[in-house]
């Protein structure tokens, strides 16, 4: 699976036209903020807040075409709902590196 889904990007280009960079910018800012918050609360268990954020991140990843990262979020959401926070710690690191790849890919979109 590609880091970024070309079809989705194509569709977004049609929808957003010249505003596509604005959408990408908004996604990157929002996601950076969410990931930071998620990392912050991984130590102290705040299940509901964690679920809401990872759920939100999952949705926006899929909308922007970051399907692989979206799937990772879904897995983390399931673990969070199940209260399985030991698995989440490992995944958080994966999420970080995945997001780096997505960001690079998105910034390459012109």
């Amino acid at each position: 699976m590609a880091i970024l889904d070309d079809d989705t990007i194509g569709e977004l280009r049609l929808i957003m036209e010249d505003d596509l960079p604005k959408l990408i910018d908004s996604y990157l800012n929002n996601s950076t903020k969410l990931i930071r918050e998620l990392q912050g609360m991984a130590g102290s268990v705040q299940q509901d807040d964690f679920v809401i954020r990872i759920h939100s991140l999952k949705g926006s990843c899929r909308n922007i075409g970051a399907l692989q990262m979206g799937d990772l979020c879904e897995r983390m959401e399931k673990h969070a709902r199940a209260g399985n926070f030991s698995k989440i710690k490992q995944d958080l690191e994966k999420l970080n590196s995945e997001f780096d790849l997505v960001r690079s890919a998105l910034l390459a979109v012109d």
Partner: protein
């Protein structure tokens, strides 16, 4: 958007900025107007403020989440339909059910598909239009229904004023008229005759409600005015038939019966056109039936209409029962009819005083209380002593319509052969006389005066009949045969009636002078004292004498003059007051 209406306003509630931006762009591209909110709290505020027609809302949000916000928004919207589409990538059934329970109407899943979003919004836009149209129609129906009920109530008042109960409250009448709807297909009327009797009319119009009630109005109008003017049963029936024939559409008619009771003669004249058999329960327990032998009113043309009546002698405490088919056709829960047999059975009950109540109670019990479908009309008339001497005069029916009126006048009316043969002049005489407003209260006296004086002039003055013939039943019959013959043979004869009224203090005087072209008679030895009450003959003139201030025969005996005094209600009160002091 393919519409000239202002674009639909859609509220987008999404906590992720990029998703919000994307969705807003998709919705704007469809031609809708957008408002956005980042969380549930802001969504509620925006909803109140912007009044959007539709909401697209993320289910999971920090603070107040989508479901809670949805519940609140639905509450604020009240009976207005505001579709809420949840934006969600929730997959488990429980979460989706929770969204629906919170008032969500549909879902949009991520990633967003513009085509799907456009289609779903379009679906709900159509539902909104439909709902608005329905609501508008509902409101219009409710409004017009309210208007209709208002009109019915006003119409009912008018109807009740016209088709009023007359003298149904007399002590010898029992009656039941079910208030099935605002209007009733049945009409039950009763009026006092100027001659002292009572006329009851029961009509059952085809159908119910307004169409039936409309026919009842002219009917009641004719009935009350003609009875008050002294017209006979036959004339009244003719007039009603003619009127109904004229106004009712083909296929609509009025099954009816008319009962004309004379207390003095202890007699009932009955006409039945299409109603169930009238039943007579004699004081001694014997039961007789008077079947319908005519077509209902409003069917036959005037020349074919038959108003002939059945005449029944009645003794004291004989009871006459009359009902429409509503009570007969009353059904119970099993669909069985109450039926004539059950009704007739009551007539044989030992306690005659309770028959009416038993019939009615029996019917209600049979149907299960409160379940009558049709108009349920039932009446009983009992033969009693002259009711008007027992009860106060029916001041409502005979109330004076105006205090002013013709008070000082005279008229002369001449009848020649044909008119003497064919025409009853009494209603005309009464009609003119009652232009003196207060005189209406004395219509019974006036009727007697005119009837006796005019028949005296014809029977004795012109035809030379001997009233002693009427002493027994055969003679009675013979008398009327001779009368018929005499009337047929009339030639060049005349009866002249002169009536003069002038006011005197506290009342008035009415002078009736009747002159016939006959030979007259020797009135010097005339005895005007009452004969024995049981005899049928010779009561006329003593009765007139007893009512009048004076009664005089003049010239060769072919002229008779009666002077009748009346006093006003006001004056009566003064006299009474003096007597008390």
């Amino acid at each position: 958007m393919p519409s000239s209406q202002p674009p639909l306003k859609i509220l987008i509630v999404e906590d992720s900025a990029s998703d919000r931006l994307l969705l807003e762009r998709i919705v704007l591209d469809q031609g809708y107007q957008t408002v956005t909110a980042e969380d549930g709290r802001e969504a509620i505020r925006q909803f109140k403020h912007e009044k959007p027609a539709m909401v697209l809302m993320d289910a999971l949000m920090p603070d107040i989440d989508g479901m809670e916000a949805a519940r609140e928004i639905k509450k604020i919207a009240g009976e207005n339909f505001v579709p809420i589409l949840f934006l969600t990538s929730l997959t488990d059934d429980e979460a989706l059910v929770a969204c629906l329970e919170a008032g969500g109407d549909d879902f949009l899943s991520k990633p967003y598909r513009p085509v799907v979003i456009a289609a779903k919004i379009q679906v709900f836009r159509r539902m909104l239009q439909l709902q608005r149209a329905l609501k508008k129609q509902r409101d219009e129906i409710a409004k017009s229904n309210e208007h209709f009920m208002q009109e019915q109530l006003v119409a009912k008042k008018v109807y009740d004023n016209v088709a009023h109960m007359g003298c149904l409250d007399q002590i010898n009448i029992k009656h039941m008229l079910s208030p099935m709807s605002v209007f009733n297909g049945d009409v039950l009327l009763a009026a006092r005759k100027p001659s002292g009797g009572l006329v009851m009319f029961l009509g059952d119009f085809t159908g119910h409600g307004l169409p039936a009630a409309i026919g009842a109005m002219p009917l009641a109008e004719i009935f009350y005015s003609m009875v008050a003017k002294g017209f006979g049963t036959e004339s009244i029936l003719h007039e009603i038939n003619l009127k109904l024939k004229g106004i009712l559409p083909v296929g609509f008619f009025c099954c009816a019966a008319m009962v004309d009771i004379s207390y003095a003669k202890r007699r009932a004249k009955i006409w039945n056109g299409g109603l169930p058999d009238l039943m007579m329960r004699r004081a001694d327990g014997i039961v007789e039936r008077i079947a319908s032998d005519h077509l209902p009113l409003g069917i036959l043309a005037a020349e074919k209409f038959d108003s002939s009546t059945t005449i029944l002698d009645m003794r004291m405490d004989d009871r006459l029962y009359i009902w429409s088919d509503g009570i007969v056709e009353l059904r119970n829960a099993r669909g069985e009819q109450y039926g004539l047999d059950r009704l007739h059975e009551w007539l044989h009950h030992d306690d005659a005083e309770k028959i009416f109540e038993y019939m009615l109670e029996g019917a209600k019990k049979f149907a299960g209380y409160g379940n009558y479908e049709d108009d349920l009309t039932l009446a009983e008339i009992k033969m009693v002593e002259d009711i008007w001497s027992i009860q106060d005069q029916d001041q409502d029916t005979f109330s004076t319509t105006a205090l002013r009126g013709a008070r000082d006048w005279s008229f002369t009316y001449e009848m020649f052969d044909d008119t003497i043969r064919e025409f009853n002049p009494i209603p005309l005489m009464l009609h003119v006389s009652m232009e003196v407003p207060e005189l209406k209260a004395y219509s019974q006296d006036l009727y007697t005066l005119f009837a006796e004086l005019i028949s005296n002039a014809i029977d004795h003055g012109l035809l030379g009949l001997d009233s002693r013939l009427k002493a027994n039943a055969t003679g009675f019959k013979r008398y009327y045969e001779l009368r018929e013959e005499g009337l047929r043979a009339l030639q060049g004869q005349c009866v002249r009636i002169n009536v003069r009224h002038h006011p005197v203090s506290g009342g008035g005087t009415l002078i009736i002078r009747v002159e016939d072209s006959g030979e007259g008679f020797d009135y010097s030895k005339l005895d005007l004292s009452f004969p024995e009450a049981s005899k049928f003959s010779g009561r006329g003139l003593p009765l007139v004498r007893s009512l009048c201030e004076s009664l005089e025969f003049k010239e060769k005996g072919n002229v008779v003059q009666a002077e009748y005094r009346w006093i006003s209600e006001l004056e009566k009160g003064k006299i009474l007051a003096k007597a008390v002091i």
